[in-house]
Amino acid sequence: MNTLLNTLLSISGRALSLDHFSFIVFGVTIIIGCRAEVTHYEECGNKLSFRVQRAMAESDTARISVVVTLRDSSGIAMEFPFLSVQTARVALGHLTKEEISILCQHTNVQYIDTPKTRFPTQ
């Protein structure tokens, strides 16, 4: 991938023909696509809490309330418009199982859990 990128960048430094330009645009598009996939997605691994996993396995409801811990919120709101990004590290959502399955693969998603209940300290 890097080799291809270097080749394209070295070509771009020369006088460009239309063919060259088309090749660069096409190539860069491919690279952006590939890089996005490579850098933004990974296995869900231990990112889904067992509470979420259980809800996904057992829930009859179409959507599950989740709290998403982010490594970085950059671009998350754009990529996942169904998610409500609250702060740099926390997003909320009422998501389908499919949405959770896709979301958890994003590298900026650190953990997905269900909300908890807190009580008045009275």
Binding site: N46, S49, F50, R51, Q86, R89, R118, T121, Q122
Partner: protein, 714 residues
């Protein structure tokens, strides 16, 4: 016959009066009262501060007695009975008779501690800031937003309106996170202007949020200022996150909402959260704690204040260490209880956390010796006759947020088999231990009051989000324990522990050994605004009727500090969260009750609002008497290392600068640069980063300028 009977009664009464008054057994404050009543001068009304109702002939007393029956034989009706004493309202005759009973050890006058928010306000020296004493001006929170995430608010309550125009609310926004409804200040004002539009339909059904908001920012106008809050001129943004329970989703929504609104208005803000829970890691990494950290890190003009929790003395935490193959066992007891009808509503939930590198096995043993076991990486679900038992022991490995393993245990009524009453056992075994084998277990929730009866500790009880790193977590201490209720009786909150910590106040530290709580503030028997949507007992209400109520908890301690933060932000709107917390911590008081600070119970001690403001202000007002002339005094001590005090006087209000220069004329520091009223001031200069040598300090104001020398010697 009737005449003879009346005559006997009169003789009897006369005999009672004739009975000697055994002073040795009676509180000295009652002596004069008894004697004046006996001498009955109708024009002389005795001072009776120990009487809850001055128009009544009855006296409030605390009787230390070994026989309740002997007291009852005098016609006395005990109100509250304890092992060594009872409380009662008695006549003078009964008081005299009591003093002569062999079973009476002592009769104490009731110390009526009026159930005031102003008691706590005075204790914290907030009253000094409301009058501008010892600081440069009056501080009441003007220009600062107090955000409250709680059960809503009684937005009609007079104490949340403008003092200058009671048809105007100080609530800028009221957001119900449970429904998504949002109401603005104009909409609320429209309801208060005499011709309500009936659009704002929010209510505070539990009353908790109203009480909390009024401690932080009520103006006490319904009580003529008696129950004034800490920041009575602050604006309010209220988020209703629930009634009796608050979802972390609503809490996070609420934090973001308040921040967004405050940012749009360009105002500094403080958020109070008098809430908490124990389902989580207790290390600052729960979802709402991460949101708190995001809102505080590298920001200015804001802080978030959180209640420590009311689990002090509760048997809900245990910890320990296991070696390879070693075990540690804890008993927990499910008391006798009446199961709720239906299923999935009787439950006990444990949250256990341990190091990522360890593999621990957890076994639950029911009262009839059925066992369910799950080792690290496993989930076990087993239906037993004594309840459904689910153990999820880090089935997907360590939590990536804090790199710790969570074992989550549920015991509940999935079927008609409810969790059985009796003694259960939780056993932890070291399956493979490479990181020390330490673990913490919280009995996070139970519907029937289960508790760890064998091996409970009373530490690490600060709840979440109270374990968040950079927020301010507040414990509670006692400033009063009795009050005169609307019903005319004296109410008591436990035993007299005035000045000591509240026994309910949760003790730290956090699971990751950080200092929490940060400080302690008054939280016991606090009178503050009552929601019109509630109907508490008249024993808990105080006058005026239907407007104020007694509540207690770290919920009440936290808004005292939130209000103080509002005063700090009024003084310095660009303070960072760290500066705010540091100033509150560093100026907190210690005494014989707190012992050495910081500690797990008190944090850094009792909050001192006046000291906090003096700490953050660049100058301290020593006297507001108007000086005759400008003076820049010689610093003291001098020579010094590393700090010295510089004093000056200004005879009129003016912008003042006080700067320090090197011998080369290089500006070293600006100690003061602000408009000051006439008065005597002082400021501290710290030269810890400077080399030994001579320096100059110059006071400039209008046409006045004076320079003095000072010497740093290291």
């Amino acid at each position: 016959m009737i005449v003879r009977f009346i005559g006997m009664v009169l003789i009897g009464v006369a005999c009672m009066f004739a009975q000697s008054f055994n002073r040795a057994k009676v509180d000295v404050r009652l002596w004069d009262y008894v004697e004046q009543i006996q001498q009955t001068s109708t024009s002389l009304k005795p001072l009776s501060l120990f009487k809850s109702n001055t128009s009544s002939a009855l006296v409030d007393v605390i009787v230390f007695s070994t026989s309740l029956n002997e007291a009852r034989s005098l016609g006395i009706q005990p109100i509250a009975t304890y092992s060594k004493f009872f409380t009662a309202q008695v006549t003078v005759d009964q008081l005299i008779a009591l003093s002569n009973l062999p079973s009476t050890t002592y009769v104490q006058a009731s110390k009526v501690r009026y159930p005031k928010l102003d008691k706590s306000i005075v204790e914290m020296k907030v009253d000094k800031l409301h009058t501008g004493t010892g600081v440069d001006k009056v501080y009441k929170g003007k220009g600062v937003i107090v955000g409250v995430i709680d059960s809503g608010i009684d937005w009609k309550h007079q104490d949340f309106r403008l003092d200058s125009d009671t048809t105007k609310s100080r609530i800028l926004f009221l957001y119900d996170a449970t429904t998504g409804k949002e109401f603005s200040q104009p909409q609320i004002n429209n309801e208060l202007d005499g011709t309500p539009a009936n659009v704002v339909d929010e209510e505070d059904y539990s009353g908790h949020g109203t009480h909390v908001a009024s401690i932080a920012a009520g103006d006490g106008s319904t009580s003529n200022g008696k129950y004034v809050g800490v920041a009575p001129e602050a604006d309010l943004i209220i988020v209703k996150a629930g009634d009796e329970g608050f979802s972390t989703t609503n809490i996070i929504n609420g934090i973001e909402y308040i921040r967004r609104k405050a940012d749009s208005l360009g105002k500094p803000f403080v958020i109070n959260m008098s809430l908490g829970g124990h389902l989580g890691a207790h290390d600052g990494t729960s979802e709402e704690e991460l949101a708190v950290e995001d809102e505080l890190n590298n920001k200015v003009g804001r802080q978030i204040v959180i209640a420590a929790g009311n689990e002090g003395g509760d048997r809900i935490h245990a910890d320990g260490t296991v070696t390879q193959s070693g075990t540690k066992q804890f008993n927990f007891t499910i008391p006798n209880y009446t199961p709720n009808s239906g299923t999935v509503n009787d439950y006990v939930i444990f949250s256990m956390w341990y190091k990522a590198g360890d593999n621990l096995t957890v076994t639950i043993t029911t009262p009839n010796n059925t066992t369910v076991t799950a080792t690290s990486g496993q989930t076990k679900q087993q239906s037993t006759t004594q309840g459904q038992i689910n153990i999820s022991n880090a089935p997907t490995g360590a939590n990536p947020v804090n790199n710790a393993k969570e074992c989550y245990i549920e015991i509940y009524d999935a079927t008609t088999n409810v969790p059985a009453s009796g003694v259960w056992t939780l056993t932890v075994t070291g399956a493979s231990v490479s990181q020390g084998g330490a673990f913490d277990i919280w009995l996070a929730v139970s519907s029937m009051g289960a508790e760890i009866t064998g091996g409970a500790t009373f530490t690490k009880l600060v709840g979440m989000p109270g374990t968040a790193e950079n927020s301010i977590t507040v414990g509670s201490y006692v400033t009063k324990w009795s009050w005169t209720s609307l019903a005319g009786t004296v109410g008591y909150s436990g035993s007299d522990r005035t000045n000591n910590f509240s026994t309910f106040s949760s003790m730290g530290p956090t699971r990751d050994a950080r200092q929490k709580p940060d400080v302690s503030a008054p939280g016991q028997a606090i009178a503050a605004a009552m929601s019109r949507s509630t109907s508490p007992s008249t024993q808990l209400q105080v006058a005026p009727a239907g407007k104020y109520v007694i509540e207690q908890g770290t919920s009440m301690a936290s808004p005292h500090v939130a209000g103080l933060v509002a005063l700090m932000l009024q003084a310095k709107p660009t303070l960072t969260p760290t500066q705010i917390r540091t100033a509150i911590r560093n100026t907190a008081r210690s005494d014989a009750f707190t012992g050495t600070i910081p500690n797990a119970q008190w944090g850094y001690g009792k909050v001192d609002a006046q000291a906090v403001l003096q700490n953050i202000l660049s100058v301290r007002l020593e006297s507001d008497a108007i000086p005759n002339t400008w003076v820049l005094r010689q610093n003291y001590p001098n020579p010094f290392n590393p700090s010295t005090k510089i004093s000056f006087s200004i005879p009129e209000r003016m912008h003042v600068t006080l700067k320090v220069f090197s011998v080369l004329g290089e500006e070293i520091a600006t100690l003061v640069s602000e408009e000051l009223a006439a008065g005597d001031y002082s400021t501290q200069f710290n030269a810890s980063t400077l080399a030994s040598g001579m320096y100059f300090y110059t006071l400039t104001a209008g046409n006045f300028s004076q320079t003095n020398k000072m010497i740093v010697v290291k």
